[in-house]
Symmetry: C2
Subunit: 203 residues, 2 copies
DNA sequence: TTTTTGAACTTTTAAAAGAATTAGTCAATA
DNA sequence: TATTGACTAATTCTTTTAAAAGTTCAAAAA
């Protein structure tokens, strides 16, 4: 039966997530994860073909949680602006809790964004699709007017990314590690950004 | 008299600019610049204390040109939207023409944004100030309503930066070198972004 | 006094080699 | 089918060394 396999896989993901979120991809070894689970390294490779697959699986796991959380909120959301504000707050919270998990992706992106497109691209797309859905609701409610919803969602997402890189470039921090204070600053700028952006889409 | 010194400095800047814009900071040696000017390397150090100062001076020179160009346009600009669109087009043109000049800054930023803050920060501030001035004109003309002009200008600038990093992360290129096609894509996204943003500031 | 230079000096970068760590494989086993 | 210890292969880290490039300076030329 594949039930046991799934359970074991989930167990591995849980443990790997802790390691990755704490120490990041580079500073986590397969041996350590195996030791945490108190079984051999070879068994890890029985359940996941390689380290990268494991990392990607953890990433997907975390992003799924995030997206589902926002989706459930959307079910009884009043208006677009609040929905998007909730979405970016959730996103920030997830990044804060699992920072080193994402740090690897973004540092990988720095060096070679092309490669990352294949790895992280799908996840980006899913977040963008969620933004599209939120905007679509707003269009339905006659709150906003948008000709190309997907493209506009991407525009919004890119802008939000800009707040992040913008804040990190101005502050004197060591780049890839936003301090708690920086997280707050980024989020506050993103909120103001969203308000202007949504207002710009109003009829 | 310091007239001759200034003339010589300008000559050096002109030659250095060509080198930096073509081959970038890393792939340009002081010896090469000196050779281009057909005088000794030591004389370069008589006019500029070190390579970094020379690079910074060139950067300032180029950015001055850009800012002045936009300022003269602003003198007889009709409305905010057109002024900003003109500004981002000029900016893109300058970056296209001197790409390797800026490439050094942005690659430096990747590794250690803190350091860059001291070096490139002032230039960023000047561009942001220009954006502030443009927005202020719009506020004066009752075209838009903005409570904190400087902050809003920064928001806009960060968003525009986001278009750049966003496009570069999705495309499969080798990061730091946008192809001509990517330049166009970035610019078109920035334009759409600006229109929404400005609309969001309208009364 | 100001401008210019050749030659030295110092610091960075690049390449090579070697050691150590870690990813990934496989035959054997329970 | 699930599990392992022992093996191999790839990667990263460190050290070393040589070359290149940045920087300084005493002295000459203007």
């Amino acid at each position: 039966m594949s039930k046991n396999v799934d359970i074991k896989r989930a167990k591995i993901l849980e443990v790997a997530k802790r390691r990755f979120a704490h120490f990041g991809m580079a500073k986590t070894t397969m041996a350590e994860i195996a030791k945490d689970l108190s079984f051999s390294k070879a068994l890890l490779y029985y359940y996941f073909p390689d380290k990268h697959s494991l990392y990607t699986a953890v990433l997907e796991y975390v992003i799924n949680e995030m997206i589902n959380k926002v989706d459930t909120y959307m079910a009884n959301a009043s208006d677009v602006e609040h929905a998007i504000l909730f979405a970016i707050e959730s996103r920030m919270e997830t990044m804060r809790e699992n920072y080193n998990l994402f740090e690897y992706s973004s540092s990988l992106f720095m060096q070679n964004p092309g490669e990352l497109g294949k790895n992280l691209g799908p996840f980006f797309d899913r977040v963008r699709d969620q933004f599209s859905r939120i905007l679509a609701i707003g269009v339905n409610n006659k709150e906003i007017v948008v000709d190309d919803v997907e493209e506009t969602a991407e525009l919004l997402l890119f802008s939000l990314m800009g707040m992040r890189t913008g804040v990190l470039s101005k502050d004197l921090s060591d780049c890839l590690f936003p301090t708690p204070g920086e997280f707050d600053l980024i989020l506050s700028k993103q909120k103001r950004m969203v308000k202007i952006f949504i207002r710009g889409l109003r009829p």
